[in-house]
Structures are given as structure tokens and as C-alpha cells.
């Protein structure tokens, strides 16, 4: 009961004060070309006590609006419109300004839009997402897939690579693999000490082998050929 009473009371105050009919137009554009496509829509001030239906030619009239500052929005099922700030004063025509949701009403924007209001649809709601389809090219573009393919190729190609290596390089490779294997097995068996020592040993060897080329360099060009064969 309280609600209609309040409304009536406020409206009766309005009756005494000045009231203004706000008129405007929805101009058809590519997004919303006609009233049939727009469907039933309304122009509404604030929470929708003052409204006006949008007619077939896009025109709307919000009747008997009292003085004040209002937010005009177009209520439509499918289309998004800009909101506008409307100031109705006693003296002049209503002032129309753009309004961005979430910003304070004051100070008002310095841009004044023409009156009668002209609005057009900004966006048509797109409710659907395209279904995800199985895509072979997309699957192969996946980095994981590329890695897997790479590994697969390596696996197949490995025996041939090894076969084509010269025996010395092969020896070295096998030696390294064996070392790595021993470190791994040491860690796996829980013998951390042995594992560490083997790492140390490997590191020592590394430094030793690193130092050899520097020494060899001093030796001159003869050793260079030698290094080549070693590597």
C-alpha cells in the first residue's frame, strides 16, 4: 500500500510543478535498421517511472517529466544504447549530455547534445558462441604436439645418426652416458654420497678437459687437428 501512496504523493507534487514532455528519436543505422528489428522498446528515465514507448518511426515522448536531472536509457531486449544525462529546468529546453556509466553525475560533461534527443543503437547483443570443432591443423600447431613429433622423429633417426658417427665420438658418447647412468643409479639407490662424488668426479674431468684445449692451443696448429678428431 505504501508504494502506490508514495508514488501518488510524489506525482501529485509533480502536478503542481512544471512538467515537460521529453521527445526524441531513435535513428536507424546498420546495427538496428528498423522498428521491427528493434522490437518493443522503451525510453526510460531513471528507474522507469517516466517512460515512453518507441514508435514505428523511432520517435518517443516521455510525458509530464518534472524538473530535475535524469538518466535516460533505452530499454531494449537485443540492443545496447548510450545513456544520456537530461537536465530539465524551468527556463529552457532540456539539456542533453552524454553520460558514461560509473562516472559521477557532477560536474556535468561539457559536451551538449542537440534536443530533441537523437540516439542510435551501439551494439546488437550476440548471445551465442560458435561450437568448438575438431581442427587437425590446430592440433598440430599445439607446441606439445610439435615437441612430441620432434621426439618421435629423433627416436626413429637416432640409430642412423649413431651409425654414421665415427667410432671415437661414439666411444665418448657411450662413456658420458655410462657416467650419467651411474649418477642416476647412485641417486636412485639412495647412495647420495656416491652420487655426489661421481658428480664431483665428472666435474673434475670437465675442468680437466677444459684445460686441455688451452694447453693444446699453446702447442700450436698441430694439436688443433688432434682436437678435432677428439670431439
Amino acid at each position: 500500500m505504501a508504494r502506490p501512496f508514495l508514488l501518488l504523493r510524489i506525482l501529485s507534487c509533480i502536478a503542481l510543478a512544471v512538467a515537460f514532455d521529453i521527445t526524441g528519436k531513435v535513428s536507424w543505422n546498420d546495427i538496428c535498421p528498423s522498428a521491427t528489428i528493434l522490437g518493443q522498446a522503451k525510453a526510460s528515465l531513471d528507474e522507469g517511472v517516466f517512460t515512453g514507448g518507441i514508435t514505428v518511426n523511432g520517435q518517443f515522448t516521455i510525458p509530464d517529466v518534472p524538473e530535475g536531472t535524469y538518466l535516460l536509457s533505452i530499454i531494449s531486449h537485443d540492443f545496447a544504447f548510450d545513456q544520456l544525462r537530461i537536465d530539465i529546468t524551468n527556463s529552457s529546453l532540456p539539456k542533453v549530455r552524454p553520460y558514461i556509466p560509473g562516472t559521477p553525475m557532477n560536474p556535468p560533461s561539457s559536451i551538449l547534445l542537440p534536443y530533441p534527443i537523437v540516439l542510435s543503437a551501439k551494439e546488437k547483443a550476440d548471445y551465442f558462441v560458435p561450437p568448438e570443432r575438431f581442427n587437425l591443423a590446430g592440433m598440430f600447431a599445439n607446441p606439445m604436439m610439435l615437441l612430441m613429433v620432434g621426439v618421435g622423429v629423433m627416436m626413429l633417426a637416432m640409430p642412423y645418426l649413431i651409425k654414421n658417427m665415427d667410432p671415437e665420438a661414439l666411444e665418448e658418447l657411450k662413456e658420458k652416458q655410462a657416467k650419467m647412468g651411474s649418477i642416476q643409479s647412485a641417486f636412485q639407490s639412495g647412495d647420495i654420497k656416491a652420487g655426489l662424488s661421481s658428480i664431483m668426479a665428472a666435474a673434475e674431468e670437465q675442468t680437466a678437459s677444459n684445460s686441455t684445449p688451452t694447453q693444446a692451443n699453446r702447442g700450436g696448429s698441430r694439436t688443433r687437428g688432434n682436437k678435432k678428431t677428439k670431439r
Binding site: 502536478a15 521491427t36 518493443q40 528507474e47 517511472v49 514508435t55 510525458p63 557532477n106
Partner: protein, 1010 residues
């Protein structure tokens, strides 16, 4: 459990939003496009058949404040226009190719629609709504006619003002208001002739009414003459009518004076003398919408009736067509009369009634122009079902004739809100418009299909072995089928259609793989007295029952559903059951509380009071109004009711339920709203169990006194459901424990004097105010919508200025999100869900709150609900622009920081606070559907944890499925079974080919090394 929760959260955040595919429309959702129950009480809103060009349409106004146009061929809605709540439609007037409506107090707003498409051509306010005179019936004192020569409209509003305006531009030509401003004379009708416009009305004189006519110049609006017709009419609604014909210049006013017809022809100067027609005595005129074609129905005291005809020369025809008086039906009210006009402009009158002797509906259709003006009638019967649809309340007629045969179809509106089109004896279509008035609805799970191998346990050894051997014969067949299914079959997907329902009478309705097929039990409001069982997978009505009136059937009355409880679910064994609690208001003003105990699968009466084909008979639980009722779920489910004296009633009232009730009653508490010494209060009650045969009584324990002038609007209970996690682990490995007090409820208040609205969250045991906020009221008063689930409160309101009128703040709709947590800071735990409400720790909590700018006005909101409560709860709202939309919980998190997020916050997936909530059209669940005037949204879990069913009702009914955290528990939609089978078989092939090769190679290697 914790792990699953975390996993779900992770998954939900990793994958983008869940949205619907265009191909899923109508598969995962359904939508009933409804218009509401026709308002048949007045001829200006009642259904009529109309011709626009060569197309026929049915127009009517409805109780849902809609003007609708239906296609008579299939009953589909061609167009509808929904009026606002302050703008009740008073009537529609079909003029030429347009439909004109008057709405609002006194007919303040005129709208003109294209009759074929429903496009709004013109909207014009005729007077301020607060200047409108209220009238009963609402259509009294309003009329619209068009000028025969021009595009001008003549509009009568408020019973005293006639406006002439241009029908296309809306420009006012002239306006005339009667000198007495409608205080003495109420004009009811306009009649237009080339010379004058007549405004005919009734003037109050001592004891009776006098007919008053004003003749106005149609071009200038000047009054030509104004006079009382010497007449004495007792009931202006039934004893007075005006007949005219399109070619006539002198309309005839008719009235009944002590049963005798008096009549006078109208001329601009009003000089004609009234004349009585001696002879028969009648009781009333019945307007069947043919007064402009010179026909009306006359009723006599004994129930017989005749058709009165105006001849082409403008004289009353000597003979009246007498409808055959049927002795089978003695009561006058059983007859419905209807008028219709064919494409050539010939009028027809039909009389329709239900014959209980024949068990059929009977219709007599009279065509006055046939048989060279003598008139001819034709009758037919139709198989109307009064057990399902109640009684025939209104009939609209569409007829055409060739030589001497009349082909007619009738549109029947029934007392249960169904609209049916009968083409002679054949039912063409039926619309259940009562679904537009649904006020209560609940989901009920349906049982699984009974497995054939469920054989009795008493089976002996020999019989079992023989049965198993006989079953083993089918094994090869089974194996083949299995392989076939494995290779080619598709898996059930949550977006796949459930296929045709297997609802034959023997099987009943059975559950699908994911539990999407449930029964929605829906009860209608408006006193239509109907309950429906609706299949949630496709929206088909599985069963429907009429609510019986019990003893009030003799005096008349109506049943208004109050609450709906699911008292037995599938997990309790047997068929699920629901109890509908309703208030029966008999026409002798006695109010009783009745309950209907219904089998949710079949609609049959559990109490066996009524047979399946008859109205449901209720059980009168309280001889008086209901104050509050609850479903108690302690050991056994039973209902507790409280009457005006706060006495407790149980249903079922057995020794067992009594003893359970006595055990749990001390721990129960409930709030009620009352007025004590002009102050509105919310008062908490507890129950004192009676030890003797008296009823247990509830007594007040606490009271929340509201400030003076503040009124309680509603008490909103908390939404209950399974709670999967009791806390929230933050990025820094601390935990916020949720404040899960099960006794919390929300109170919405309004303080009109201060233009403020209050939101309180109270503890029902102690009355502790856990949360209180005040927001501004708007011009419509307080229109706050709220929802409380687990520890999460949301409320929606309009932030504007009322009174002071400054525009400093940002106007717009707000959604406030509040989350309650235990203790004063992180890692404090009080076990709020378990502790006694008298513990000090119940007030040891803190909360976070944030307000967001919401894009729309809403009419209902709720959250999704799932089977275990693990999935994130999204907010579902019904917006005023006719959408049902979901909003992600993550955006509504009140802990969103006001700065750039830190690494820890990012780990929690917190996003920087932005006041504007993203409005993503992909989250519009109702997509292209126009879901209007939603009053409530109900959600229910499916068997899949990820998915929740969402039903919205109000005017339209809409159901869809949502997966707030995506469908993580089923195969993704792009899972390709063919590809999987192909890969596996490819690998198998590779093994088969390379196997011998490897074997050969290893053999060769052995040779080389040895």
C-alpha cells in the same frame, strides 16, 4: 572433498565463460510464450475474432496486463504488448487496421498498434494519471471510436472527457469535458454518425439511474444538445444498451424499465420521443459485441433468451429469435453468449453451455441474415472436459455461412485459465494460460528406470541357475552390441537432447543419465486453482489437477496456493510426493487452510480422498488462516503449521511425528512480523511443547522494534543447500572461515517518510542484527531485491535522489555483495555452523562488502544450486528488458582489491575492483527469447555436479541449464570418439606390423654378436 573444490575452482577460472551455442537453442532450454488469462469480464478486453484484410486474428486483454493477438489457426502468439504495472490496460478497440488501447487510471494513455504486427504507431498521454477517476469495472467510462470519414479518433476517458485527435500524428483537434466533471454523469459510450457524435451515459437520480445523451459536433467539439432521456434504469450495466448499424444515421438507445423495453432514436437535436415496447418482460441486455451490427441478446428471468435485431431501416424487428429453452440446465449462469461477424459483415450469435446430461458442450449458432432475414440456427456439440478445465466462462465466436449452412468456430475461456479453439466439434488447439499466473514451483527428481534384474531375493538356487543360463544365451548378442556401441556409439552429452519422452502410462516418467528430466510442480495463482506437473526436459505438461473447493464448493470460492513442499524425494524411496498448502476463501468470507498431498509423478491424490479424474480434494488442516508453516526434516519429513493463535498443527499428525516434534521443538525458532502499538516489529518465536492433548503453542522470545514509520516489507529466508567448503584459502596460505549461521534470514523494510529502505540480516533465535544497511528509496518506493546463500548476501536497488534533487552521485542500479566470515581476521575459526546460538561466538564475525553498478533493473534474483555445492554459485537475475542473465561470482567478490593485484591475490584469481559489472551478452541464458515479467527464478541441481537447472516464471516460463564452472565432469563437447577409435586402432595396427620386424631384427643382432 577439499581437493575437488580446489580443482573445480581452478578449472572454472582457467576456462572462459560458459555460453550457449546456437544449435543448443530449444535443446537445452525451452520457453513458453504466454500472454495471460483473458479478462472476459468486460467486452472491451474479452477475446474477439477480427478480420484484418483477409487475415483473422484473436485479440484480448489479459490479467497479466497484456494485449495479445493470437493466430486462430494454431494458437500461436502473433504479437503481444506488455503494459507497465502503473498502467493497467482498460480496453482495446479494433478500428480498421489498427488496435487502439486505453490504459492507466481513467484511460490516461492511448496507444495505437498495427493490428497485424503489433508495431506501436502512436503513444499519447491524454491526461495526468493522478487526474484519472477510478472506476469499477475498470473499463467503465472509456471508449474509442474512429471517425467514419477521416483518420480522427474520438476518445472517451474518465467518463467525462471526449478528445478528438488525429490517429496518425496524435495531434489533438478538440477536447470536451462535461460541465459536471463526471461527478453526476458517467458517460459510457460514444456513437458516431455523420451529423453528430453522441456521448451516452448514465446520470444518478434518486434510487435509479437516468440515461443521459450529449450530442457533439464531430468537427469542432461544440455541444449541440445535452439532455436526459426520461427513463428509470436500476442497473446501468445490464439494463441499458445502444444499437446501431453501419448504414444507419439514427442509433437507437434501449433500456429496461421494470422489464419492459423502452427505446429512442438519437438525433443531433435529441428531439425524438421515447417509446416503450409492450409485451414480454426481460431481465437484462447482454452485449455480445454486436451492438454496432444492430444485435443484442435479451435474457428473461427464467433463463430463456432471445436475440433482438435492428432492421436495416433502423426499426426494431418485430420478431426476436428465441433460443430453444433447454430444461437440462436450469441455471442461467450456465449459458455463455458470444457474437461474431463474418468477412461480409453479417452478425452471428452463439449460445454455448455445458450439458451435464450429455457430458458435452453444446453450441447454438444463430445467423440473422439467413432464410431471407428470418434467421437460421445451427447447433453442434463438442467434447469439453470439465474435470481438467473447469467451467466455460467466456466464448468468442467466428462464423461464416454459405446458403443455409453455418460453419463456426468458438474460442472458449475456462475457469482454470485455459483458452481453447473448437472448430465445430473438433479441438484445434488449447493454451494453458494459467501458467502465466504460476506463483509457486518446485523441482522434483524422478526415479531411475527399474532394472529388470531386480528379482526377488527369495529366488532359489536352481531357479537362479536356470535363469542365468537362459540369460547367458543372449551373451554373444550382447558382446556384438557392446563392440558396436564402443566403436560407433556416441556418449550422452549434457547438451544433447533427451529425445522423445517415454511417458506412456505404464512406464511413467523416468530419469535420464544426468538428471535433467525432473518434474516441475507448479501451482497457479489468481484463484484459478490448478496444479501442473511439467516435464523439465521439454516443458510438456505431464499432469494437471484442479484444486477442489471441499465444502465451499456449494457456496463458491477460490483456492490460493501459499506454499509448496517436497515431502518425499526419490532418495526416500517410492514415488516423490509434494504437499501444496493453500488458503481457501469461500464466498461466504470463511477462510480455511487446506493442503493437497500429491504424487509428483502422476498427480494422483496420496490421501486417496479424490479419484484421478476429479478435482483434488484437500485436507482442511486449520479452520482459519495460516500464519506460518515449515517443513521439518528430522528423522522423518513432516510439516508444521501455525494458526492465528500460534497453535502448532502437524501433518501427517501421527504419534511418531508428535514425538519427533516434541524432541526437536525446543531448538526451533521462527520470526513473524507484527504491529505492536503502531510500531512495526519482527518478533521471534519459540515453541512450547504441550504435554497433554492441547496443541503446542509458539511464544515470542525476542523482538526487533523498527524506528517509527518503518514498515516491514518481507522476510526472506536463507536459501539452503549443501555446503562443500567451510572456508576460503587465501593466496598467503591463510584461511577465511565462512560465517555459516543456519538461522540467518533477511528482512526488507521501507521507511516512506524518510524515503529510505532497510536491509537487515537477523538471527532467528536471538534476533541479533548481523548486518544492517539503508539505501535510498526511489519514486516507486522500496524495491530492493535480495538473496542470501551460505555466507553471501546480495541486494539490488536503484541509487537515485528522491526529495533533495541533487545529482552529485552516480545514478543507477547497484548490486551490493556482502560476504561474512568467522572471527575478526583470517585463520580465526568459531565453527559458526555448529555452535549454539547462545554462544558468544555467534557475534564474532566480520564481513566484506562491495557495491557494483548493475546494468539493469531486475525483477527476480537467485543463485545457482548444485548437487554437492562444490561448483561456484553464479548469480541469476531476471532483468526488466526481458532477459534471464547470469553474473559470475568472481566479479561479485567483495574482496576485489582497489589497486593492482599482488601475486598472492592473483593466485586467488582476484581481479582489480571495477565498479561497473561486465555485461556480457554471452551470459544471457534466455538469448533471443523474450522472457517477460519474471516474478521468481528457481534453481535445482541435476545429477551432474557442474550443472544446475534454472526455471523462471511470471508471465513467460523458461527453463535452461547452466554450468557456472563449465561442464568439468563430462567429456568436453569437442571430444571426438571417431578420432580416438581411429588412433587406438592405428596404434594396434602399427604394433602388429612392427612386432615381427623387431623380432626379426633382434634375431639378426644375436647372429652378429655371437
Amino acid at each position: 572433498m577439499r581437493f575437488i573444490t580446489t580443482a573445480v575452482t581452478l578449472i572454472s577460472l582457467c576456462i572462459g565463460t560458459w555460453a550457449i551455442h546456437e544449435s543448443d537453442v530449444g535443446v537445452v532450454d525451452w520457453h513458453k510464450h504466454l500472454v495471460g488469462v483473458p479478462l472476459y469480464g468486460s467486452t472491451s478486453t474479452a477475446p474477439t475474432f477480427n478480420f484484418i484484410g483477409n487475415r483473422s486474428l484473436i485479440f484480448f486483454g489479459t490479467s497479466s496486463n497484456v494485449i495479445a493477438a493470437l493466430d486462430p489457426e494454431d494458437g500461436s502468439v502473433v504479437w503481444r504488448y506488455i503494459f507497465g504495472p502503473e498502467d493497467p490496460v482498460t480496453g482495446y478497440y479494433k478500428l480498421d487496421n489498427t488496435v487502439t488501447t486505453l490504459s492507466g487510471p481513467g484511460g490516461s494513455t492511448l496507444r495505437n498498434f498495427n493490428a497485424l504486427t503489433g508495431e506501436l504507431l502512436l503513444e499519447k498521454r491524454l491526461h495526468l494519471p493522478q487526474l484519472g477517476a477510478l472506476s469499477t469495472p475498470i473499463s467503465l467510462g472509456k471508449h474509442v471510436i474512429s471517425s467514419p470519414e477521416s483518420k480522427d479518433l474520438f476518445i472517451l476517458t474518465n467518463g467525462c472527457t471526449v478528445t478528438s485527435l488525429n490517429g496518425t500524428t496524435g495531434e489533438v483537434n478538440w477536447k470536451w469535458t462535461s460541465p459536471d466533471q463526471g461527478s453526476l454523469i458517467i458517460h459510457t459510450k460514444l456513437i458516431s454518425t455523420p451529423e453528430a457524435l453522441f456521448a451516452v451515459g448514465i446520470a444518478k437520480s434518486t434510487a435509479t439511474y437516468t440515461i443521459h445523451v450529449t450530442s457533439i459536433s464531430p468537427t469542432t467539439g461544440e455541444v449541440i444538445h445535452s439532455a436526459n432521456i426520461p427513463s428509470r434504469v436500476e442497473d446501468p450495466f445490464t439494463e441499458f444498451t445502444i444499437l446501431t448499424r453501419p448504414e444507419l444515421t439514427k442509433p437507437i438507445v434501449l433500456w429496461l424499465e421494470k422489464g419492459t423495453i423502452g427505446h429512442v432514436a438519437l438525433t443531433p437535436t435529441l428531439k425524438e420521443k421515447p417509446r416503450p415496447i409492450q409485451g414480454d418482460v426481460y431481465s437484462q441486455f447482454l452485449d455480445v459485441g454486436l451492438t454496432n451490427h444492430g444485435q443484442a441478446v435479451l435474457l428473461r428471468e427464467d433463463g430463456s433468451s432471445a436475440v433482438l435485431k435492428l432492421s436495416e431501416e433502423g426499426r426494431l424487428a418485430k420478431s426476436k429469435w428465441e433460443f430453444q429453452y433447454s430444461l437440462a440446465s436450469t441455471r442461467n449462469a450456465d449459458y455463455s453468449y458470444a457474437g461474431g461477424v463474418d468477412t461480409l459483415g453479417h452478425p452471428y450469435v452463439a449460445r454455448v453451455h455445458w450439458s451435464s446430461n450429455l457430458g458435452k458442450g453444446l453450441a447454438d449458432v444463430f445467423a440473422g441474415h439467413l432464410a431471407s432475414g428470418e434467421g437460421h440456427s445451427n447447433d453442434f456439440s463438442f467434447q469439453f472436459d470439465p474435470q481438467t478445465y473447469g467451467t466455460i466462462k467466456h466464448v468468442a465466436l467466428d462464423a461464416e455461412s454459405s446458403q443455409s449452412t453455418i460453419n463456426s468456430r468458438i474460442l472458449v475461456t475456462t475457469s482454470t485459465g485455459a483458452v481453447q479453439l473448437w472448430d465445430q466439434h473438433q479441438l484445434k488447439w488449447s493454451r494453458e494460460e494459467a501458467l502465466a499466473t504460476v506463483t509457486l514451483a518446485e523441482f522434483v527428481e524422478v526415479p531411475e528406470v527399474a532394472s529388470a534384474s531386480d528379482v526377488a531375493a527369495s529366488e532359489g538356487f536352481v531357479s537362479r541357475v536356470s535363469r542365468q543360463i537362459s540369460e547367458a544365451q543372449d551373451f554373444p548378442q550382447y558382446l556384438v552390441n557392446f563392440v558396436k556401441r564402443f566403436v560407433t556409439g556416441s556418449y550422452a552429452s549434457p547438451t544433447s537432447s533427451l529425445g522423445p519422452t517415454t511417458t506412456n502410462s505404464t512406464e511413467g516418467i523416468i530419469r535420464d543419465a544426468f538428471g535433467f528430466r525432473q518434474i516441475i510442480v507448479a501451482a497457479t495463482g489468481l484463484g484459478l486453482g490448478k496444479v501442473y506437473g511439467i516435464d523439465s526436459s521439454n516443458g510438456n505438461i505431464v499432469w494437471s489437477r484442479v484444486l477442489g473447493l471441499g465444502w465451499a464448493g456449494e457456496v463458491g470460492g477460490h483456492v490460493q496456493p501459499l506454499k509448496l513442499y517436497v515431502t518425499k524425494t526419490v532418495s526416500d524411496g517410492g514415488d516423490p510426493e509434494v504437499v501444496l498448502v493453500a488458503q481457501r476463501r469461500a464466498d461466504n468470507s470463511l477462510v480455511d487452510t487446506v493442503l493437497f498431498h500429491i504424487n509428483a509423478l502422476t498427480g494422483s491424490d496420496i490421501t486417496l480422498r479424490s479419484k484421478d479424474n476429479f478435482p483434488l480434494e484437500g485436507y482442511d488442516v486449520i479452520q482459519g488462516p495460516l500464519v506460518e508453516s515449515f517443513l521439518l526434516n528430522a528423522e522423518k519429513k513432516f510439516l508444521v503449521f501455525f494458526d492465528e493463535y500460534l497453535q502448532a498443527y502437524l501433518y501427517p499428525d501421527t504419534q511418531e511425528t508428535k514425538s519427533i516434534f516434541a524432541g526437536v521443538a525446543p531448538s526451533l525458532s521462527f520470526p513473524l512480523r507484527t504491529t505492536v502499538e503502531d510500531r512495526k516489529r519482527v518478533i521471534g518465536h519459540q515453541i512450547a511443547v504441550s504435554k497433554d492433548h492441547h496443541k503446542s503453542l509458539a511464544h515470542p522470545t525476542w523482538s526487533l522494534a523498527l524506528p517509527l514509520g518503518e514498515e516491514v516489507q518481507t522476510l526472506v529466508p536463507q536459501i539452503r543447500g549443501p555446503i562443500a567448503s567451510i572456508g576460503k584459502v587465501l593466496g598467503n596460505r591463510t584461511t577465511l572461515y565462512k560465517y555459516l549461521n543456519p538461522r540467518l534470514f533477511t528482512v526488507l523494510t521501507a521507511a516512506p517518510a524518510r524515503a529510505m529502505c532497510g536491509i537487515y540480516v537477523l538471527d532467528s533465535m536471538k534476533g541479533t542484527v548481523v548486518y544492517h544497511a539503508e539505501v535510498k528509496a526511489n519514486l516507486r518506493g522500496c524495491n530492493v531485491k535480495t538473496n542470501f546463500v551460505e555466507n553471501w548476501l546480495v541486494y539490488h536497488y536503484f541509487e537515485g535522489e528522491v526529495g533533495s534533487g541533487t545529482a552529485g552521485g552516480a545514478k543507477g542500479y547497484r548490486m551490493v555483495s556482502v560476504e561474512f566470515f568467522e572471527g575478526q581476521k583470517v585463520d580465526e575459526k568459531t565453527k559458526s555452523s555448529e555452535i549454539s546460538s547462545f554462544s558468544n561466538d555467534t557475534i564474532n564475525y566480520h564481513f566484506y562488502e562491495s557495491a557494483f553498478i548493475f546494468p539493469y533493473d531486475i525483477s527476480a534474483l537467485t543463485t545457482t544450486s548444485t548437487k554437492f555445492g562444490i561448483t561456484t554459485k553464479d548469480l541469476i537475475v531476471a532483468t526488466k528488458n526481458h532477459r534471464v542473465q547470469s553474473f559470475s561470482r568472481h566479479f561479485l567478490n567483495p574482496r576485489r582489491p582497489n589497486r593492482k593485484t599482488t601475486a598472492e591475490e592473483q593466485e586467488e584469481y582476484l581481479i582489480t575492483y571495477d565498479p561497473v559489472l561486465p555485461n556480457d551478452p554471452k551470459r544471457v541464458l534466455s538469448h533471443n527469447y523474450d522472457v517477460a515479467k519474471t516474478v521468481k527464478i528457481v534453481t535445482a541441481p541435476a545429477l551432474l555436479e557442474s550443472t544446475s537447472l534454472v526455471l523462471s516464471f511470471g508471465l513467460d516460463m523458461f527453463l535452461t541449464r547452466v554450468a557456472p564452472s563449465n561442464t568439468f565432469d563430462v567429456l568436453s563437447e569437442n571430444f571426438n570418439k571417431a578420432q580416438l577409435v581411429f588412433t587406438v586402432s592405428g596404434l594396434l595396427l602399427a604394433i602388429l606390423i612392427t612386432g615381427p620386424m623387431v623380432k626379426r631384427k633382434s634375431l639378426r643382432e644375436k647372429w652378429y654378436h655371437s
